[in-house]
Symmetry: C2
Subunit: 269 residues, 2 copies
């Protein structure tokens, strides 16, 4: 379906995605410099003024640019859920780290067309670093194209791969898949749990070799598929499950191709 769209059209959407990321960054950094309150949502997860204000600014700008497109955000739900084009945003992914003063959070933006990702942007305000990709356009770090032969190069056989994981609590959130986590940490014992979208961009630039994400919502994953595929890597959905509170949770593996193929059987066991 997305093949119907011209490269020029996708380039325009990518430019809009970068503008939206810049807007979110401005809101987030102004919240940081003026200080912000941390509150907890009904599910006890953390939310800050930065999440709320950045998503509001994002939504308002999408309404101006593309009044017929849908919008789906972590904080304020869905607008025009039946539209073909869907702008999806997690304004502050890694809110727990953000609220604790750690720089590893980021803004995740994706534009999906009939359910297929067209563009993806992950911005790290604290690092002044933006990753972006468009379908058939390549993957970029601060505007410089990443070379798939560099960032997705297979590892030498005697080097133990560095695999990012979700924390174990994610594996038990909807069903008890703790055994999958336990098997992964045995097989890939040089693991990291940086958390959230910091892992996504670490995979895209080749610093992490692969990542297993478990039980995430669509806005957490809105950017990574097109980013990692355009960087030359592989992205596979392991499972989708209905959440008790409504909506779908996704478990996915992405990264260097041969390594993803090694990880998948464990995730499916």
């Amino acid at each position: 379906m997305r093949e119907q769209l011209s490269k020029t059209e996708i380039e325009q959407y990518l430019a809009a995605g970068l503008e939206l990321a810049k807007l979110c960054r401005e809101v987030i950094l102004s919240t940081v410099s003026s200080g912000f309150e941390v509150s907890r949502k009904a599910d006890r997860s953390v939310v800050t003024e930065a999440d709320l204000q950045a998503e509001k600014a994002f939504r308002a700008r999408v309404e101006e640019l593309f009044p017929n497109h849908g919008i789906l955000g972590e904080e304020f739900g869905a607008t025009r859920p039946d539209a073909k084009f869907q702008w999806i945003v997690d304004p502050v992914d890694g809110t727990e780290e953000f609220a604790a003063g750690l720089p590893l959070y980021g803004t995740i933006i994706g534009l999906h067309y009939n359910g297929q990702p067209l563009i993806g942007v992950i911005d790290h305000p604290a690092f002044n670093t933006t990753y972006s990709a468009g379908h058939r356009l390549g993957c970029y770090k601060n505007g410089k194209r990443l070379d798939p032969n560099q960032v997705m190069k297979d590892l030498p056989p005697d080097v133990s791969p560095r695999v990012g994981l979700s924390p174990r609590r994610n594996f038990k959130r909807y069903q008890d898949n703790g055994a999958v986590f336990d098997q992964l940490v045995r097989e890939f014992d040089n693991h990291r749990i940086y958390h959230s979208c910091y892992d996504h961009t670490a995979v895209v630039n080749g610093s992490l070799d692969a990542k297993v994400e478990w039980g995430l919502r669509i806005w957490d994953l809105a950017a990574i598929q097109v980013l990692v595929e355009e960087a030359g890597g592989k992205y596979t959905v392991v499972k989708q499950e209905e959440r008790p509170g409504g909506g779908v949770a996704y478990s996915v593996v992405f990264g260097k191709r041969a390594l993803v193929d090694q990880i998948l059987p464990i995730c499916r066991s």
Copy 2:
């Protein structure tokens, strides 16, 4: 023993520690900007020009400042191992992250007196952030004193603590303590594995609630005890074991006091 030393004397050593950290940072950042080779040591761990050059500069400057003090570094071993004062350095802790282009690495510097820590400095060049502490002098982030009532405040009962861990491979390195890791990830399932000294400073500033480090060498831990104690937290050695290749490996827990007390029985089981 360290109580014999005056506050003024310790302040002078702390100033020297900060000067040494600045020197290492300059060497590391100049290596980054000029590009560097990554090689592997006999144990297959990674080493770069930054590790080697920073430790050389560190050693030369200690020789000038304190010609009777001992020096112990990760890359070049021990000088005057019988001296009362020992300057201990890991020039690039988290070399694997450093070599992969991730900003989470740091320089660890400690001065120990008769085996007791006097001063500790952890510098993160990529974040322009330095943590420092001296025995009885308090703990500082970029020169600003941290308030123990803020950074080591106990958690509300309904918040799941964020606990940093070593990767599972550390728990199996000398003896098979994989079961300790498995129990920790069950009891504290909102864990992180940022790796190395990034976790140390995250504990010191209260962003991580505690950290369990397993099977580390003295240079990895040279700064953290005095940093965390002066920040108002607790530091406990769980075990020391002789390494097959010589030297001692340490397993330790540090962070918020009540949480450290909850974690210790699992580590000792």
